[in-house]
C-alpha cells in the first residue's frame, strides 16, 4: 500500500492568520463532500467563534485534464470534451469552442444557424439559472422551489433532446454551423415554453423575492465591491450585481447578438440578494431574445458550404466519387486550420467564457485553453466571505453559482 507524502505545517502557514497558530481560532474543513459546495470543492475556513476570519478554497478535485486531452484529438473530436467542462452549459461551451475554430479557419456561419445557436444558448442560460435558483434556495432551507425549477428545466431539456437527441451533452453546435437543421416541432415546442415560463417565473418571485427569511439571509451578505469585482476578474451576474453594466453579448457581440434588443440587468448592492435579482431578470431578457430570434428565424442552410473545413452533404456521397473520397478523408484525417491563434469569448450563464486555441497547421489543436468564468469567480470568494458568519458562507458560495467541472476542467 502507498503512503501519502507528508506536507509540513510551515509550507502552509502563510494561508492562515497568526492567531490560528496560537490556537485562538479554529480551522475547519468544509468539503470536499459538503452538500452546499455543489460538487467537490474544499474550503479551509478559519473561524473565530461563528465569524469567518479567512477562507482558502482548495480546488482541483474534479480536474480531468480536458485541455491536455484536447491537444491529442482532432478539431471535431475535441469539441465533445467541451460539453463536459461546464455541465450546466454545454451549448455555451460548444459555441465558444466553435467560434474559436471558426476564427482560425475563417468559416462563416449561415444566418439560420446563428439564430438557432442564439435560441439554444439562451434556453441553456435559463435552464442553468433554474438549477442555480433551485439549489441555492435548497442550501438556505427552502426545499420546495427546487422541485418547481427542475420541473421547468425538464421542458428545456426536452427541447434539447428534440433537436440533438441528447438532453445534456448535446454537441449540436459544430464548427461552421449546426449538426443538422432543427425538426419541424422545434418552433411549437419553444413557443409553448415561452408562453408558459413568464407565469412560472412570477410564481418563483412570489415565493422568494419578498420572502422575509430569504431577504434576511441574503441582504448585505457576501458583498463584493465594484472595484474588487473588476480587478479580480469576476464576470457574469456577479459583476452585474456589483454595479458594472458589462455583458459580453453587448460589448463583444457574437453569433448575431447585436440584432436583438435586450437589457443588461444591473444591481448596485453587490450582495447575494442582488445576484438573485440579476439572475431572475436575466431569465426574462433571455425570453425576449428567444422570442425575437424565433419570430425572425431566417430560412436557408444551417452549415457553411466551405468544403475545405466542412464534410460534403449526405446526398452527394451516393452520386459523386469525389464527395465520397472527401467524406472519407474528412472524417479520418480531419481538417487543418492555418497557423495562428484565436480567442473567442461568449457570455455563459456564469460569466465570460473564452476559448484560446493555438494551431500549428496540423489537424490537431496545438494548445487549447479555456478561460472559465467559475474559476475567476471562485477566486473572489475569500473577499466576500471574510468577516461574515459561517452560516452566511453557505449563502455566499451558493450565490457564486460555481460548477466545479467549470473550475477544474
Amino acid at each position: 500500500m502507498f503512503e501519502p507524502m507528508e506536507v509540513s505545517a510551515e509550507e502552509l502557514q502563510h494561508l492562515v492568520s497568526d492567531r490560528a497558530l496560537k490556537g485562538e481560532t479554529v480551522l475547519l474543513n468544509m468539503g470536499p463532500q459538503h452538500p452546499s459546495t455543489h460538487g467537490v470543492l474544499r474550503l479551509l475556513v478559519e473561524l473565530d467563534g461563528e465569524q469567518v476570519v479567512n477562507v482558502v478554497p482548495d480546488i482541483g478535485f474534479l480536474h480531468t485534464g480536458i485541455e491536455k486531452n484536447m491537444e491529442a484529438k482532432r478539431y471535431w473530436q475535441a469539441e465533445v470534451m467541451t460539453d463536459r467542462m461546464d455541465y450546466l452549459n454545454p451549448v455555451g461551451n460548444n459555441l465558444a469552442y466553435c467560434l474559436a475554430v471558426e476564427q482560425l479557419t475563417g468559416l462563416d456561419v449561415p444566418p439560420r444557424a446563428q439564430a438557432i445557436r442564439v435560441i439554444l444558448a439562451e434556453l441553456q442560460r435559463i435552464s442553468s439559472h433554474l438549477v442555480w435558483l433551485g439549489t441555492h434556495l435548497l442550501d438556505l432551507g427552502a426545499t420546495s422551489l427546487f422541485l418547481y425549477t427542475f420541473r421547468e428545466r425538464e421542458i428545456i431539456l426536452d427541447i434539447f433532446e428534440l433537436v440533438s437527441g441528447a438532453r445534456m451533452m448535446t454537441t449540436y453546435i459544430r464548427p461552421g454551423g449546426l449538426w443538422r437543421d432543427v425538426p419541424p416541432e422545434f418552433d411549437a415546442a419553444v413557443r409553448a415554453f415561452l408562453d408558459l415560463f413568464p407565469r412560472r417565473l412570477r410564481q418563483y418571485e412570489a415565493l422568494v423575492t419578498k420572502n422575509p427569511i430569504y431577504k434576511d439571509r441574503t441582504q448585505g451578505v457576501g458583498v463584493l465591491s465594484k472595484e474588487d469585482a473588476m480587478r479580480w476578474g469576476v464576470t457574469g451576474p456577479m459583476l452585474r450585481a456589483s454595479g458594472v453594466a458589462y455583458d459580453t453579448r453587448k460589448a463583444r457581440p457574437y453569433s448575431g447578438y447585436e440584432q436583438y434588443e435586450f437589457d443588461i440587468p444591473v444591481e448596485h448592492s453587490g450582495d447575494v440578494y442582488a445576484r438573485y435579482l440579476v439572475r431572475i431578470e436575466e431569465m426574462r431578457q433571455s425570453l425576449r431574445i428567444i422570442r425575437q430570434a424565433l419570430d425572425n428565424l431566417p430560412d436557408g442552410p444551417v452549415r457553411s458550404d466551405n468544403r475545405k473545413y466542412m464534410p460534403p452533404p449526405r446526398e452527394e456521397i451516393g452520386v459523386s466519387m469525389e464527395s465520397l473520397i472527401h467524406h472519407f478523408k474528412f472524417w479520418t484525417e480531419g481538417f487543418s486550420p492555418p497557423k495562428g491563434s484565436a480567442y473567442a469569448a461568449v457570455e455563459s450563464p456564469r460569466g465570460t467564457l473564452a476559448v484560446f486555441i493555438e494551431s500549428d497547421g496540423s489537424p490537431r489543436p496545438y494548445r487549447v485553453h479555456v478561460r472559465t468564468p467559475s474559476f475567476a469567480n471562485l477566486q473572489a470568494l475569500p473577499l466576500m466571505a471574510k468577516g461574515g458568519m459561517v452560516a452566511d458562507l453557505v449563502a455566499t458560495v451558493g450565490s457564486v453559482d460555481i460548477v466545479l467541472g467549470d473550475v477544474d476542467r
Binding site: H63, G233, R367
Partner: protein, 170 residues
C-alpha cells in the same frame, strides 16, 4: 470593440517598452521581453484603463523553438470593451515576474500556469499547485509529459500495479 484603443495601447507598448506588434486572426498581439512585463502591466492599467487580466495561459513549444514557452496574457478593459493579447517568451527553468501586484485577479491563473507548465512566478504571494495534487511530479501540459493512463487498481492486483508506478506519483 474599440479597435483604435487597442491599437493605441499596442503602439505605446512598442514605443516605450520594446514591444513587437503583430496581428493574429484580427486580434492585436504584442510580444514583449520578459523584463518589461511589469511595466507593461502598469502602463496598461494606469494609462489605458485595462482593468483586468482576463486570462493567463502558456504554450509549450518543446523541440520547436527556443525559448521554450510563451506565456499568453489577455487584458480587458470594461470601459473601452478592448482586448489586448501579450506574449512573453520564457525558457525552461526561468522565472516569470508575477503581475499579481498590478492585477490581483492574476493570482490563480499564475498558479495554474505554474502547476501545468512548471513556470515559476517571482513575487507571487502563494505559489502552490492548484489543480494537481500537492505531491504530484511533473507538469501535465508540457509537451514532453505523456498523455498516459492509469490502470485501475483492485484489491487482488493493487500491489502489483503499485510496484510499477513511479515513486511519489500517486
Amino acid at each position: 470593440m474599440s479597435a483604435e484603443h487597442v491599437q493605441a495601447a499596442a503602439e505605446a507598448l512598442a514605443e516605450r517598452l520594446q514591444g513587437e506588434v503583430s496581428e493574429d486572426n484580427g486580434q492585436v498581439v504584442v510580444r514583449l521581453p520578459k523584463a518589461r512585463l511589469l511595466d507593461a502591466a502598469r502602463l496598461l492599467r494606469d494609462a489605458f484603463g485595462f482593468q483586468v487580466a482576463e486570462d493567463i495561459t502558456a504554450v509549450d513549444y518543446w523541440q520547436r523553438r527556443e525559448p521554450r514557452f510563451d506565456v499568453v496574457y489577455h487584458f480587458f478593459s470594461y470601459d473601452h470593451a478592448a482586448l489586448l493579447r501579450l506574449r512573453v517568451a520564457v525558457d525552461d527553468g526561468e522565472a516569470m515576474p508575477s503581475i499579481t501586484a498590478v492585477f490581483p485577479g492574476a493570482d490563480w491563473y499564475e498558479r495554474e500556469v505554474y502547476d501545468m507548465f512548471g513556470i515559476p512566478f517571482d513575487g507571487h504571494p502563494d505559489l502552490r499547485r492548484i489543480l494537481m495534487p500537492y505531491d504530484w511530479e511533473g507538469h501535465p501540459l508540457r509537451k514532453d509529459y505523456p498523455l498516459g493512463y492509469e490502470e485501475p487498481q483492485f484489491t487482488f492486483n493493487f500491489d502489483e500495479i503499485q510496484a510499477k508506478k513511479v515513486q511519489g506519483r500517486r
